[in-house]
Symmetry: C2
Subunit: 213 residues, 2 copies
DNA sequence: TTTTGTGAACGTGTTCACAGCG
DNA sequence: CGCTGTGAACACGTTCACAAAA
């Protein structure tokens, strides 16, 4: 099996979502063309992505929805539950915890940490906010969300790595250093806004105020 | 000027951030090597990225921090202010509005919308929540954040496009269709978690419970 | 000598196009 | 004939390596 690109993984998530919808509609079979349709993807891309993991379709027919869904669930590691910690119980951290969708997909937020003495001990949802110092390997955290201020982010990442956390989703706008066995993914809102700003600036050099009347 | 890749724009954001820091430290000059250092980028990449827009450095010397910062600010469109709307005053929408960093970078949240009758009329920060029906071109919104439930997202995007909004940052886990003149960027938390799940599953086939002792 | 700016080489991901199989 | 699976062609972004300039 070749190395799987990040784009392929993202598309697998997408296929999985489509399969869930299609399954809910009672559809039994689906073609690569139909799987591609909703995204801006080609059917060849779908087939290529899937081919990295096996041959799941039947020539002339397409893919069996239930079967493919099970396969992708396994590939993505969604056939188990993941223990998630949120570090930084500010706005973003709280927003994430409030989002119900995660639990249904296998992600259980089992701990929340904050460094503010005022916050520690308070409850957030069904959890009590803890100080990060109390995190141990016994917590068996699989992945963590860093939603702290940027200046604390690297230190938090170090503590997490030391506690055996193997996946980090970083919301702080700074590149984090982490050991090779820790996967770090970043969501950088500032960058997203700046990308939009760039696109909007490029689109109509000269007229910058509003869209054409 | 060639088409600029998304990765280049993201790196420009990074360079800009580094330049801000370096300028604050009073540094006058910086080399491509130093600009690259903090990210996992090569110095050649930095020079190539910048070369798409002009020749900002001096051979043998490097780049003047202030000058380059001004140039990148212009390239990214950060030399003006952008009128931003938040649609969906739930957890994520509120979290974004509470984030102070945006205003300082030129992004002013000037309107918040929600469809819930209970929410409309309430105040959020310094703004009063409005129904999306009241959005007009007169609001002169440049870009909008969609932080509604997924089922409403496409309809919201249509309304935004019709009101002349030219940039959308979509937090709903669904690909949005929009006219060519509207730039859509997506932040998909579910996909990020699933990517982590994939990485963690791949890392140690077999042992799935926790990191090695 | 230092460091930029850039064509050329390289590597990686996407698309094409068709063989293979139902 | 349908549609998948896949090598080959292609497109695009990154890295190399060096000429040009300070």
């Amino acid at each position: 099996m070749p190395r799987i690109s990040e784009s392929t993984v993202r598309r697998l998530s997408h296929y999985y979502r489509v399969l869930e919808e299609v399954a809910a509609e009672g559809q039994k079979l689906i073609s690569s063309h139909l799987l591609a349709e909703r995204e801006g993807i080609t059917s060849a891309q779908v087939r290529k992505d899937l081919s990295y993991f096996g041959s799941f379709g039947r020539r002339g027919l397409g893919y069996q929805v239930d079967h493919l869904r099970t396969e992708i669930r396994g590939i993505l590691g969604l056939d188990r539950r993941w223990r998630v910690a949120v570090v930084g119980a500010g706005h973003i951290g709280s927003a994430l915890m409030a989002y119900r969708g995660f639990a249904s997909q296998g992600f259980d937020v089992v701990a929340v940490f904050d460094s503010s003495p005022a916050r520690v001990g308070q409850s957030l949802g069904e959890l009590t906010i803890r100080h990060l110092d109390t995190l141990t390997r016994e917590d068996a955290i699989d992945m963590a969300v860093i939603s702290t201020p940027v200046r604390a982010a690297q230190e938090v990442a170090d503590v997490l790595a030391a506690a055996g956390v193997r996946g980090i989703l970083n919301f702080a706008p700074r590149k984090l250093k982490a050991p090779a066995e820790v996967t770090v993914r970043a969501v950088d809102m500032t960058m997203e806004f700046e990308s939009l700003s760039f696109s909007l600036s490029q689109a109509r050099p000269g007229s910058r105020r509003r869209a054409a009347d």
